[in-house]
């Protein structure tokens, strides 16, 4: 079984490297119900003017044509943005980092210098960091509204599978008890 583990580690090695590729500031996230509710409000007041959230039924106020003439490109739909910008919570972290990286000089984002989007929150807004955090959490929810149900069901399924595996392992031990094997094939039994 030792070589077994080694090979499994080797096969998972590329995945582990891939997970560590993005370089974003370590900001704290809050996925509480209250944060999601506040984030939805932030979306409506600060994002919906340009960005739709179509899988949740929100249309943007501005048309794609108007956005194109104002900013040079249409504002993308945000329904899946949190999944499109990173695996797991990485995508939410990306959105949060983007929103707080606008500098004093207007129209300039230190993390994404070429971004077409103007600053979302006023630089005088004392709540801008909180708003970025809340809307990132809300967009994380929006990207997969049933994620909570998934994890909830997953606990039962995994619990069941662990018990089933243990039971089947016991059954297998019992069937093989009468068979003497010498797997190395080196010595007589």
């Amino acid at each position: 079984m030792k070589i077994f583990n080694l090979l499994i580690i080797l096969m998972l090695f590329p995945l582990a490297l891939r997970a560590a590729d993005a370089e974003l500031p370590k900001l704290d996230l809050d996925f509480s119900e209250a944060a999601l509710k506040r984030g939805e409000g932030v979306y409506k007041s600060s994002c919906q003017a340009c960005h739709s959230l179509k899988y949740l039924g929100y249309q943007s106020v501005m048309t794609a044509e108007a956005a194109r003439s104002a900013f040079g490109k249409a504002a993308p739909d945000l329904s899946l943005m949190a999944k499109a910008r990173g695996r797991g919570r990485q995508g939410a972290r990306y959105i949060q980092a983007l929103l707080v990286s606008y500098n004093e000089t207007p129209e300039k984002n230190s993390l994404f210098p070429n971004i077409a989007m103007p600053p979302v929150f006023s630089k005088d807004d004392p709540e801008s960091a909180q708003k970025a955090r809340d809307v990132a959490a809300f967009l994380f929810y929006a990207a997969e509204p049933l994620a909570k149900e998934r994890r909830g069901l997953g606990r039962y399924v995994l619990g069941y599978m662990v018990l089933l595996t243990a039971l089947l392992y016991g059954v297998n031990r019992k069937t093989w008890r009468s068979i003497k094997t010498n797997r190395s094939g080196k010595n007589t039994p």
């Binding site: 079984m1 077994f4 090979l7 080797l10 096969m11 090695f13 590329p14 995945l15 490297l17 891939r18 997970a19 899988y55 993308p76 329904s79 899946l80 999944k83 499109a84 910008r85 990173g86 695996r87 797991g88 995508g91 990207a143 997969e144 509204p145 049933l146 149900e149 998934r150 994890r151 069901l153 997953g154 399924v157 995994l158 599978m161 662990v162 089933l164 595996t165 089947l168 392992y169 059954v171 297998n172 019992k174 069937t175 093989w176 068979i179 094997t181 010498n182 797997r183 094939g185 080196k186 010595n187 007589t188 039994p189």
Partner: protein
């Protein structure tokens, strides 16, 4: 009950079939756990077929609807998210099992006479599965779906004379589009899984049951001898608990870490006007992608990539050793472990951009990949083998 059985047996060889292939199928008792991955791969095939049938009920193979229909499955269809994640992560389990299954064949010399057909039908399943996974990847119609299909179909333009026309024929259009999506959907859901993979799996099992399983010693065991036991119940319980273990790991990822195996960029709808900065394949294609990009010539790269799979078919003739198992062949043993390590290195190379050290590493690893097959025929004359155990001692 026995009356029904008799009625059946007079018309159909049911009892005979069950006895021959399950209850009394002779199996070496010294099989280790590397011999379990064939049945694990089979289970993943069944999972893919069942979840695929359900996805087909809601998925829309049309460029304007495909992306939205996947999100409809994720959000509105009851347990649609579960069916879709099971199906999207299935190939990870399938290829994981298949690579270990093939690695076992390589290490223990399972391809040697009289198991050539077993090896070749297995390779056909592997190739068909690669095509199946590639075509299925287009269906969500995300950015990586679109560009992966564009880049891979474009490889065929390297064929001299008719290459560019061949690419148009493959795509059904000048660019990947609605015609491509329609044909990939059709092939992915009908001909490839049922007509090719399903059929060849039956041939693979039929060939297996003609020659019998190999075993870690590589000895050809007497089917009525002391080292052989019936499949039932010993290998039924052994397969069941091990499949249960593997499925537990698989379901952990399905329920708690599905994003780990799904490309983020594929959550953006396909856009023919925006090329992704960083093209990367699913993990199970990475080593072959690395071989493709290691050759500084388009046609050469394509030939090396397909050649790296095709060369496996020649193994029964490349390895002429009288001994099968690397356990008793010290040189083959070391070379084969290096081959596995090298394969993982190729995967790492495929994950990164092919510049500088990564490019050099990719070229060295590609060279070793092929060198392994060139050295195998030279081994029997020089290798000092270890003594084999006696059949009665197993």
């Amino acid at each position: 009950m026995s009356g029904a059985r008799e009625w059946m047996d007079r018309r159909f060889p049911l009892t005979e079939f069950l006895e021959r292939h399950i209850t009394n199928y002779p199996t070496p008792k010294n099989l280790n756990y590397w011999w379990n991955f064939g049945s694990v791969a089979g289970i993943f095939f069944v999972i893919q077929v069942i979840t695929g049938v359900w996805l087909t009920m809601y998925y829309k193979p049309e460029t304007r609807l495909a992306f939205d229909s996947v999100e409809h499955i994720m959000r509105d269809v009851n347990y649609g998210w579960l069916i879709r994640y099971l199906h999207a992560l299935g190939p990870t389990g399938f290829f994981f099992a298949l690579y270990l299954h093939m690695g076992r064949g390589l290490y223990y010399g399972s391809y040697q006479s009289p198991r050539e057909l077993l090896w070749w039908t297995g390779l056909i399943i592997f190739l068909a599965l690669m095509a199946e996974a590639f075509m299925g990847y287009l269906l969500p119609w995300g950015q990586m779906s679109y560009w992966a299909a564009t880049v891979i179909t474009n490889l065929f333009s390297a064929i001299p004379f008719f290459g560019p026309d061949f690419v148009i024929w493959l795509r059904g259009d000048f660019a990947v589009g609605d015609a491509t999506l329609g044909r990939f959907f059709s092939l992915h859901t009908t001909l490839l899984p049922l007509g090719v993979i399903g059929l060849v799996v039956v041939l693979h099992l039929t060939a297996l049951h003609r020659v019998g399983s190999g075993n870690p010693t590589g000895l050809e065991l007497d089917k009525k001898g002391p080292a052989v036991i019936p499949f039932s119940p010993y290998f039924i319980t052994k397969d069941l608990w091990f499949i249960s273990l593997v499925l537990t790991c698989y379901l952990f990822f399905v329920f708690f870490q599905p994003d780990l195996f799904l490309e983020p960029l594929n959550y953006e709808p396909a856009d023919p006007f925006v090329t992704p900065h960083h093209m990367v394949t699913e993990w199970y294609f990475l080593p072959f992608y690395a071989i493709l990009r290691s050759i500084p010539h388009k046609l050469g790269g394509v030939l090396a990539m397909f050649g790296s799979i095709l060369i496996l078919a020649f193994l029964p003739y490349l390895d002429r050793s009288a001994l099968r198992s690397a356990r008793y062949r010290p040189v083959k043993r070391v070379l084969t472990w290096l081959f596995f390590l090298n394969f993982a290195v190729l995967g790492y190379v495929g994950l990164n951009q092919p510049f500088g050290t990564i490019l050099l590493l990719g070229r060295i690893s590609t060279a070793y990949y092929f060198l392994y097959f060139l050295v195998l025929p030279l081994l029997p004359a020089r290798e000092r083998v270890k003594p084999l155990p006696k059949e009665g001692e197993l």
